[in-house]
Amino acid sequence: MRGIRKSFGATVALDGVDLAVSPGEICGLIGQNGAGKSTLMGVLAGALRPDAGEMRIDGARYAPASPIEGRRAGVAMIYQELSLAPHLSVTENVLLGAEPTRHGLLDRARMRDQAGRALAELGHTDIPLDAPVGSLSVATQQLVEIARALAVGCRVLVLDEPTSSLGRADVEGLFALLQRLKAQGHAIVYISHFIEEVTEVADRFIVLRDGRNAGGGPTAGATHDAIVALMVGASVGNLFPRSARARGDAVLDVASLEPGSASFTLHRGEILGIAGLIGSGRTRLLRTVFGLEPVRSGRVRVAAFEGPATPHQRWRQGVGMLSEDRKEEGLALALDIADNLTLTRLSAFGRGGLLSPSRQRAAAAGWIRRMDIKCAGPSQRAGELSGGNQQKIAIARLLQHDVDVLVLDEPTRGIDVGSKAQIYTLIDALVADAPGRAPKAILMVSSYLPELLGVCDRIAVMRRGRLGEPRPVAAYSEHELMRAATGGGAGA
């Protein structure tokens, strides 16, 4: 692959990336969230069409127009987000799109045989071949997904975070298999956030940062720290203003809350950060605190309010949440900016259930100015804005509501560096110790480590579903955070 470029609207996901893998080699691909890894592999598989660049397989020009052509050319892919048909059986999922037939009919015996063999290679003869995939656990589903790539047969195999929900034994089984495939002459690309996995299984690694090649080299001899340094890039310390903060009353108290067995207390005038890898359970913790998911056990207290509550009640208690899933849960894309911005507190714009759209718009116009949102005006539809500007609207909604506790899940996802700085400034102002105004409290999840280190007062690390003790930010460096999240190099 050479000079691959791909942009989605205003977002440049890939900006001239080169990648080469030879037969019999495992190449690790690493980089922060949004670096462009999945996009690059999507281009390779034929699911995405590059804007520029060319690809060759075995020297022959390769320009797949669809995933079918990619498959025919021998590229098999395990997607990051599980992509299985929940209603179909394991066998059918494994062989979907490549079913063996005889006289026009499915050759069920051969299908079962092939699927069984693929799973056996993974060391799993125990998975029921006829069970619908929707009834299986997430980890088993991931194995099925891996088996799919194996069963089809391929020359290039791409694994996009195949181990995010696998246990150690399965990971080792997979690694053994990858070594066998390598010996058979397959070219393998292995994407993972678990750096020690990459160093363990790959021969070579390549780091992507912001859609560009940021370095690489043989894994032998590369230290964990060196790779992290390549991933994280230059210092961004100046991004984060930090005014004087004074810790005030406790406003959110969480005790041995499941999932996550989380215990912490959040005070006014502080930002508590939660670090962790993808799938470590941070989002679920926040959703449980906010009442979007049931509290299985444990306790949540907001100021004077004890016990579980619905999101409706949480807003009234002065807690607001920003979802990480902007598209599914963040904004009503069909509605205009003013509606999106004011939805949680419409009562401020009229009396007795009535509303004044002009007052809504006036308020929205104020936030558009303060947050420098690029748009045609408060009446523009939210769906027409770029992702970063959408995110700003979602944040503005919390500010507009004037909540005391802000629960932020990946608040700067999809936001460019300039906008990030603005948001950090705003966040900082909320918790700053200013006279005549009670400071807010912020609970924040982020996968962007410099951000956590830059804005938080305390950070707790979540690993494989358990939240550690919050510690002052000074106790961590980026390196140490990454170590704590991945298991300190002692095996994930």
């Binding site: 619905t310 849960e329 963040g330 069909a334 939805l343 009229g350 259930g353 004044s356």
Partner: protein, 314 residues
Amino acid sequence: MTARSLVDRAGTALGLIVVAGVFGALIGPQFFSPGNLELMARQTAIVSMAAIGMTMAIVSGGIDLSVGSIIALATVVIALLLRMEVHPVLAALGAVAAGAACGLVNGVLITQLRVVPFIVTLGTMLIIRGVAKGLAEERRIEAPVTWLNDLLRVPRGGALLPSGIWLVIGLALLVAGLLRYTRFGRHVFAIGSNERMARLCGVAITRTKIVVYVLTAMFAGLAGVLQFSKLSVGDPTVAVGLELDVIAAVIIGGGSLLGGRGTVAGTLIGAAIMTVIQIGCSQHGLANWVQQIVTGIIIVAAVALDRMRTSGGE
């Protein structure tokens, strides 16, 4: 309104103008005579009334297939009450109350059983139709003629339009205002546009949805009052399949079955387009079947155009 929504509405209104223009050219200026315009307004009144309610259900991302049955039930209830010598106003209110009860059942089943509105209202469509037939003992119930039967009549005095039409206009303005200028209305849009986001933002989903289905069914009840007014009989077999006309009016008017989009004005224009096609075809001497084909094509074309217009924004 915003520039965007003006364009949206202009699109549908343009469709109405084109359709009306074509028939005007085919039939001659008498197509636009006051009498003919009034005829159109009267014929469109029942579908419009039900469609105002349906707009809310569709904006909220749902659907109500039971409106035709509710209309039938409403005519039966009025006729029975009138035969019991209840005051006409109370009889009409009784019909609306019967509608509200049906809507409550729909809303509660949809939110509590978490079954999709299509299935719930498919079931209640049968149930309510059965109840209407049972109440009427499977008969047409003739009722004494009262002023209720003048609701869609050409008025004798100075009033420009029959009072039933004024009722439609008044309620249309009310619902347009409800959707635009109240918290409830914005919550309906939020639910339809992105239900998960609405939940995150603290919108009371269950309560709002129940109110939506109650209101939708109350409008169907009012449509039943108009239907009764036309024939002065309680007819449990009336309005079979009308739900599809009603849904089509909303969708031609810019509503989306995926929710979050739709306006009362658009809906009324959608209903008007269908009536113009119908009356135009009939007065041009075109057969019923041509009319059906033309209506079908306009429905698909309207939504396809809409899809193209909005696909840029997705």
